[in-house]
Structures are given as structure tokens and as C-alpha cells.
């Protein structure tokens, strides 16, 4: 490992005090975890994905544990851009957090409206485009699976959000995640975040019905770590922009693996439910021992696509 030359780093025009972020979703708008997570110690808090209008989220059951994993079908419940910018974001900033605002890719029109609303916010200098939510009907993962659509959505964001960093969050539920990363990069993305949840499902105990009304849900947690790590490794060798690694991080050691795979920063999601102290412990470990260096891929005979 290389010694820490200071933990700060930049993604495009945005700078961060360190490389440990909260992932979008589990921590909500951040404030809910006050008292349990030292938000001001983290590199960033990626806020719960918002849409231009409020969304009620999915009806029915929304959570199900699996072996070393968690399925969720929240359905992008959120307060909408207006309340978010008026109430939630100021509270998060007041708590000392450094936000990255997650923007949901719905249909084109509301997506553009959300970008336009965000462009006006001087307090926002970094956004993450969620092109990969498996739990909504329109937009979401459908956009994130198509390189041409990814490019179109990213380009619109870059054209609108002048001077702001644009991270693009990718879905692993594709044949070739690296090609999507390249599409995002080609369209001007400042970084890509990988991965969003993996599609899965479960049944109720009596097998009478799937747990979730929408049947499919998103799998997160330690179960998906090897999948996320592989995606990050592959993407980091396909693009020049920074890769933010997320998926299953449950220990300091897990976080280090993502840096070894080529990530420039990591996000912690599901693990905060059981171990809210983890993000800060990762910060401390990286401060004490430096950022693990990325492993070169020269000596490995990697498989073709």
C-alpha cells in the first residue's frame, strides 16, 4: 500500500475530503442517521435518488433478507426535487456533510426538468445519475442497459449542469458493464459508480406469492461483493475516468479490495443498517494505512468479453 499523501481527491470539478462515501438510498437524505454516523467525517453522502415530482414508492412489502444479502423494492420513494432542495439538502449540509445529489432517470421530460432544476442550485457541485434502479417502471434500469440511451442521458446532464461533476451509476444486470461505462465516458461523464443492485426475487414463506408486488427487486449486501468487485475491475480497465466502487462492502478489508480493483473511491450501502460505524472506520483505516494501490492487470490472462 502507498502511504496516504492526504486523503483528498477530485472528480471533475468537485473535490472530496476523502474517498469514502455513503451510497445512495440506505442512508436516505442523511439526516436520519445523525447521531449514528459522523457525516462530516465522510468524503461524501450520496443522497437518496430524487425525481422532479415526489414519488410514493412501491406498494406492498419492500424488504427481504436473503443469504448474506438484502432484496429491496423501495421504488424510488422520494420527496421530490422541491422539498429536497428546500428542506433535506440544507439540513444535510448543515450537518457538515458533503452531498452528491442522486438524480433519477425517468422518462426524458421529467428527467430534463430535474436537470434544469438542479442546474440552478449553487450549493450542488456534484450529482450522481441513477440510470440503474431496478425497482421502477419507466426509465431507471431500462435506460441504464442501453449504451445509446446512457450517452443521451449523460450528455444532457453535462450540457445542463455546467461546472458540476457528473457521476453515472451503472447497473450490473447487463452483458457488458464496461461498454456502458465507455458510453458514459464518451458522453462526458466525470466518473462512473458501480454497481447498483443485482436483480433478484424471493417468495413468501408459504410460497403463496413472490415477496414483492413487482416480483423482481434489487439485491445488495455481502452476497454481491464479488460481482461488484469484478465489475469495478473490468470498468477500471476500460475507461480513464475515476470509478467509484460500491456493492457489498461490509468491512475495512472489503473496502480495500475495491481500491485494489481500481476504484478511486468507495461507497457503503447496506452495511450501515447493521454497522453504521463502518464508513468512519474505513476513513480511519485509509488515513492510517493509505489507499491500497490498484493491482496491475498485465500478469493476468483475463477472459475475453
Amino acid at each position: 500500500m502507498t502511504a496516504a499523501k492526504g486523503q483528498g481527491f477530485a472528480i471533475g470539478p468537485a473535490s472530496f475530503r476523502n474517498r469514502v462515501f455513503l451510497a445512495s438510498g440506505p442512508a436516505g437524505y442523511g439526516g436520519e442517521y445523525a447521531g449514528l454516523i459522523g457525516l462530516d467525517r465522510l468524503g461524501a453522502v450520496v443522497t437518496k435518488t430524487i425525481t422532479i415530482e415526489p414519488r410514493a414508492g412501491n406498494p406492498g412489502r419492500r424488504l427481504q433478507e436473503t443469504s448474506a444479502g438484502l432484496l429491496n423494492s423501495i421504488g424510488l420513494e422520494n420527496v421530490g426535487a422541491a422539498v429536497f432542495f428546500a428542506d433535506k439538502l440544507p439540513a444535510l449540509i448543515a450537518a457538515g456533510a458533503r452531498p452528491i445529489v442522486s438524480l433519477g432517470a425517468e422518462e426524458w421530460e421529467p428527467y430534463c426538468a430535474l436537470l434544469d432544476a438542479t442546474a440552478l442550485r449553487v450549493e450542488v457541485d456534484a450529482v450522481e445519475l441513477n440510470l440503474s434502479c431496478p425497482n421502477v417502471e419507466c426509465g431507471g434500469m431500462a435506460v441504464g442497459k442501453d449504451p445509446a440511451l446512457v450517452a443521451r442521458y449523460v450528455r444532457r446532464a453535462k450540457d445542463t449542469l455546467i461546472g458540476k461533476a457528473v457521476l453515472v451509476k451503472l447497473t450490473p444486470n447487463v452483458s457488458d458493464v464496461a461498454s456502458l461505462a465507455r458510453a458514459a465516458e464518451g458522453a462526458g461523464a466525470d466518473a462512473v459508480t458501480a454497481i447498483n443492485t443485482v436483480v433478484g426475487m424471493e417468495f413468501l414463506d408459504d410460497l403463496g406469492a413472490p415477496v414483492f408486488r413487482r416480483v423482481s427487486a434489487g439485491l445488495s449486501g455481502p452476497a454481491i461483493l464479488p460481482i461488484a468487485l469484478e465489475a469495478v475491475w473490468r470498468i477500471a480497465r476500460s475507461v480513464a475516468i475515476p470509478v467509484v466502487g460500491v456493492g457489498g462492502i461490509s468491512s475495512v478489508e472489503d473496502a480495500r479490495k475495491f481500491f485494489a480493483a481500481g476504484a478511486a473511491a468507495v461507497q457503503v450501502g447496506t452495511a450501515i443498517f447493521y454497522d453504521p460505524g463502518l464508513p468512519e472506520r474505513i476513513v480511519e483505516a485509509l488515513e492510517a494505512e493509505g489507499i491500497p494501490r490498484t493491482i496491475g492487470s498485465d500478469s493476468f490472462c483475463e477472459g475475453g468479453t
Binding site: E32, G35, L36, G57, N72, F273
Partner: protein, 271 residues
């Protein structure tokens, strides 16, 4: 109640007692700086750092004194089984107090508390709290269990002025469910003007609302739902609630656990 009072603690088990084939009372030393809590609030426990389950498990506060925190744990799966296997002196990772609403203290009239199974826990806390606060209202407990062995009479103590029991198999008290017990008392005119507090299986609370709801405008209930964060962040624990003619999703953990029972859109609530 201010949500900032929650904290994360290593709580040490002071004693554990098996009360019935399935239920245990766990008494923890109250961790230093664990905030005061209100009836209907809960804690969430990481059962193990090395073994499943992954998520914390939520438990209602059954009592909180200057020195101790009591929980009632029914064994229904891996997490609860592990809790019921803790030994005196073991510590668990516990977050609390959680929950954004509480059982409001009875105003006029008396209080009827309807408990099903482990739903007893928050109602015991309510009765004790109000008694400690010196409230004069009479508190009557209506409490149902599956069978005599599962009626946790030992928990009830002096807190209630009156207790009626029911068991599904008729082995003790009224033969039937606790909703019938309520109906019977009501026939006798015993409950008019009273406030109703409930906690128990969803079917029980729903039946209370559907069969007695109109006669109890003041019915508050502490709900359960599968939870992940426990703090209102993840939106995983929602319950559909009617508000202004439409249905909105409320988080049981932070908009509850206590709701007006008649507002819950019971027919919409699965999962």
C-alpha cells in the same frame, strides 16, 4: 421526542428468563447515556457480527428504568433464537431509543389496552410509564394468547387495575380471541368513552378496527413491519395510511410506531 437522542451501545445482558415455551424476558443494563424513552419506542439489535441474520432486529421497549432496559423476545426465527440464547454478561450491539411517535397518555376516561402475544411489551411499558407519572386513569388490560402456557401473566404485575385474558384454545380465560373479549366488555358498557391502545398481530388490530372501530374513535396502535434502517432513512418499513382522501406510505420506524388505527389502510397493507 427528538430523534437525535438515539445512540448505539454495547448493551450487557443482566438476566434472561424464559417465561413460556416461546418467550423470554431479557433485562439489559441500561447503557450510560441511553436516552429516556416513551411507550411505543423500540431498540434494534445486531444479533451477531459473524453469523446470520444480516439485519438488526427491532424490539419494543417493555421497560426502561434508571438502571435497566427490558425486552420481551419471542423465538420465531434465527435472530430471536440467538437472542434467547444469550447468557448473562454477553453484550449486544443495540441502537435506540427509536421511533418517532408514542402512545399518548390517556386524557379523560379510562384506558383499555389490548395486547396480542408479544404486543404486550409496549403496553406494559405504557402502563408502567403512566403509573410512574402519577396518572390516575384506570388502565384495563385485555390480553390474548394462543394457549395458557403462552399467557405471560408474570409480566403484568400491579400496573393494570384489571386484566382479562383470552386464549384461542380456551385453556385459560375467554375461549376465543381478544377481539371477542373486547366485544363482550363493550356489551357490558364498560368501555364507553375510553381510549383504546393496541399492539399485536396485524390481523388482531385490523379486526379491532373493523369490528369496533366506529365505536372507538380514539384507537392508537403500535405497528410492526420488516425493517432495515430503523431510523426513517431507507423507506423499507412503510405502511399505507389514509390522509386527506388518498393513501400515503408512512415509515413505521420513524412516522410510528404508534399510529391512529383507523387511519391505516388495512386492506392495502401486505408484507
Amino acid at each position: 421526542m427528538s430523534p437525535e437522542t438515539k445512540g448505539r451501545f454495547a448493551a450487557r445482558l443482566e438476566s434472561r428468563k424464559q417465561l413460556s415455551p416461546s418467550c423470554h424476558v431479557l433485562i439489559f443494563e441500561r447503557p450510560d447515556s441511553f436516552s429516556d424513552a416513551r411507550p411505543g419506542q423500540f431498540v434494534s439489535i445486531r444479533v451477531s457480527e459473524t453469523a446470520p441474520p444480516l439485519l438488526r432486529r427491532p424490539y419494543s421497549i417493555m421497560d426502561l428504568t434508571a438502571r435497566s432496559l427490558s425486552l420481551l423476545v419471542k423465538v420465531v426465527g434465527r435472530g430471536s433464537a440467538a437472542l434467547a440464547a444469550l447468557d448473562k454478561g454477553d453484550t449486544v450491539d443495540l441502537i435506540g431509543p427509536l421511533g418517532g411517535t408514542e402512545f399518548p397518555a390517556p386524557r379523560n376516561g379510562n384506558a383499555f389496552l389490548v395486547a396480542g402475544g408479544t404486543g404486550l411489551a409496549p403496553l406494559v411499558f405504557a402502563a408502567r410509564t403512566w403509573r410512574r407519572e402519577g396518572r390516575s386513569q384506570e388502565m384495563c388490560l385485555l390480553y390474548g394468547a394462543s394457549t395458557k402456557d403462552e399467557l405471560l401473566e408474570g409480566l403484568i404485575g400491579e400496573d393494570f387495575c384489571e386484566c382479562s385474558f383470552s386464549t384461542i384454545d380456551g385453556s385459560s380465560g375467554h375461549h376465543g380471541d381478544v377481539v371477542e373479549l373486547c366485544e363482550n366488555l363493550m356489551e357490558k358498557g364498560r368501555m364507553s368513552g375510553a381510549m383504546l391502545y393496541s399492539c399485536g398481530p396485524r390481523a388482531m388490530v385490523r379486526a379491532l378496527v373493523e369490528r369496533l372501530g366506529s365505536r372507538f374513535p380514539e384507537h392508537v396502535t403500535s405497528l410492526e413491519s420488516v425493517m432495515a434502517c430503523g431510523v426513517g432513512a431507507c423507506r423499507g418499513c412503510t405502511v399505507p395510511v389514509r390522509a386527506g382522501g388518498k393513501i400515503v406510505f408512512k415509515a413505521v420506524c420513524s412516522d410510528g410506531t404508534v399510529f391512529k388505527a383507523n387511519d391505516v389502510a388495512w386492506e392495502e397493507w401486505e408484507g
